[in-house]
Symmetry: C2
């Protein structure tokens, strides 16, 4: 049976009220502060980046109020949202605080979802699901992290975890995380990998370019580096059922993946550690469709669709038997859509003026609609069918 035609947003954030209150209580970044605006109003501002201008950015009910999330969904005809805490999560906390707060926020998010509305036209499907939080901070114990994995696995509306790239302080290729990957794989949770730190700010130079460079380049670079380090560490060879969803369509990973394969090939010590060509692993990953352009999305589906050609196990390489390069390219592009999922990045990238729909959302929907070589079936899958299956929403 084909899944119902739904619009499902898998990249949409929240600062749960408990988390927002916690940010208000803090005197250093990340924090929410109250200031008097240039117009004389009292207003709250969010500071999450160390290098952010001291005035931060506007923040309001759309960050924590569930009714605002549902209004946003209704306005854009989004049926279901799989909501995740926004960065920087618990990264800045000592281990014991992170553990306790993770547990509380996971319970909060379960309540946020379970007490929310259901779809009117499909029985048993809610409008809100969630990604939980793990206490992934330096000096966190494996036991604390795994007990939180187990907590999340028992909460019926939490379908995965959102995760930054620092792990326990040494990145996600840290051997100490092996039991964590095993526990996540075992629990069948989806890991949503999301950037926060970017790369060294010295790269951006002295010109005033607002947030453009760290957001447009730094964020995707961070995701690309973290995923590449995971590939190089063999995590996907050891945990073939691990389901990792990459923010912002995997950043630059697809475009650099053949170069990555070539660099590995020229470094026998690294190459000998891996079971497959680097490009194979892109077919094990999931990618949100938050790239703002049709050509980018089409290319991501190419990179996923070609992945099986780069298996070294011999079972799938060349198995399609397709000889015509043109047909092969079209088929490959369509098949790669199976691991791509619509997202909005709400409530970030709000419109600058009063508009009915958010430009950033419209752009992502138009991007899906405009991909050369995707049929309606593939577009429906990316808009919602893939998420419905990945998160097992119909069960």
């Amino acid at each position: 049976m084909s899944p119902p035609r739904l619009l499902i947003d898998i990249h949409t954030h929240v600062y749960l009220p408990r988390y927002a209150a916690f940010l208000r209580s803090r005197a250093s970044v990340p924090r929410i502060l109250t200031r008097t605006s240039p117009e004389g109003r009292q207003e709250e501002r969010l500071l999450i980046l160390d290098d952010e201008p001291s005035s931060g950015r506007p923040i309001g009910a759309q960050y924590w109020d569930r009714d605002e999330k549902l209004k946003f969904m209704d306005r854009h005809a989004i049926d279901v949202s799989v909501v995740s805490s926004a960065n920087p999560w618990l990264d800045f906390l000592p281990a014991s605080t992170a553990h306790q707060l993770a547990g509380e926020l996971n319970d909060d998010l379960e309540t946020y979802c379970s007490t929310g509305p259901s779809l009117s036209h499909i029985t048993g499907v809610k409008r809100l699901y969630g990604f939980g939080l793990l206490p992934l901070v330096p000096e966190a114990s494996t036991e604390a992290i795994i007990s939180t994995v187990e907590q999340i696995a028992k909460l019926p509306h939490l379908k995965g975890v959102i995760m930054g790239t620092r792990g326990l302080g040494k990145g996600l290729d840290d051997n100490a995380l092996e039991p964590v990957w095993a526990a996540i794989e075992q629990a069948g949770l989806v890991v949503f990998l999301h950037p926060h730190y970017g790369v060294d700010k010295n790269a951006w130079g002295e010109k005033e370019n607002g947030h453009v460079l760290p957001l447009a380049l730094g964020f995707p670079f961070e995701t690309t580096i973290a995923t590449t380090r995971l590939i190089l560490s063999g995590v996907f060879d050891r945990h073939p059922s691990l389901r990792l969803l990459l923010a912002h369509s995997g950043g630059a990973l697809p475009q650099l993946s053949s170069r990555l394969a070539s660099c590995i090939e020229h470094d026998p010590l690294v190459a000998s550690r891996l079971a497959h060509d680097a490009r194979y692993y892109l077919g094990k990953l999931y990618f949100d469709a938050v790239a703002y352009g049709s050509e980018e999305l089409g290319f991501v589906s190419d990179a996923i669709g070609r992945a099986d050609k780069y298996s070294r196990s011999g079972t799938s390489a060349g198995a399609s038997g397709v000889k015509d390069a043109s047909a092969d390219g079209a088929e490959q592009r369509r098949s790669g859509t199976r691991r791509m999922l619509f997202g909005t990045d709400h409530p970030f990238f709000p419109p600058l003026g009063a508009t009915e729909k958010w430009k950033s959302v419209v752009e992502n929907l138009e991007a899906i609609d405009g991909v050369w070589g995707w049929s309606d079936a593939e577009k429906d899958a990316v808009r919602g069918g893939n998420a419905f299956a990945l998160f097992n929403l119909g069960s």
Copy 2:
């Protein structure tokens, strides 16, 4: 008249004998040192990166001997090479030394090309052309740089300049470089933008991954950042005839270009400075085809081919009148090939064992041959026709 069918390598490096001798005279990186190999032989090793293992990498005649370059070309049926000095060029030198050495090396490269062989089947075309060097280092005077631009413009076999990303120490978006861009544009030289520094090494973590991360990710990130900063600084608005060729197919710029456009759109101060949507500028750039995969190359042609849609001048946006998205995608992909040029990155990425052809070269040729939607005409253009026209080799 259509250009002759040639294979032209526009990304191929040399350490000219004068430069190699200079590196041998140095006691710190970059340098060439002699050591006793584990097998007891005397051998030279190259160290160019600050963080490189102290043993560096093997170096030999293929880096400086013109006969070796020609043998490599013959082996791979490369008709013409547009040769450039390899990184780190003159970046590490004081201004006066850099100025003098640039002048000498430009004369050396002119001799390297002009005294080399000609094509046997096309009158008046040599087998070797070159990109010269500018003394782009901190405290270099504009006069010194511009006098070197003028020197290069007078050397008939030098067709452009190769350039790193540091400029005078503040990057390429430095206002102080305005007269340099103007002089290069005026002289009709092509700027080949090439990485050397990557990004902060802390991003690579603690695992032993050889050179894989800085080469596969750091290099293309650097090119992406430098080009984005050039776009944001308005250089392409002020110098619409400037011809910039990006190494490694522009790194991650194509895949991040719609995200970049969206981030700019959400930052009115930045958006108001630029004449066009960020994606428009990709249609003003040239991209080598050194990406090692067909899907990557196809996508780069998509990103170039769509650029005119993002003009804000109103003359070209939507002018094609093509309504069918499928036909539009195919046409766009083919039209984008006009700014893509074959390259090898020789003598880097040598084969690990004794082989007739270099894997890295074969991969780049196979990548061109395998792009879905490129006809033979486009493949010929990328293999050589575009370079023939861009560098005006037939005149």
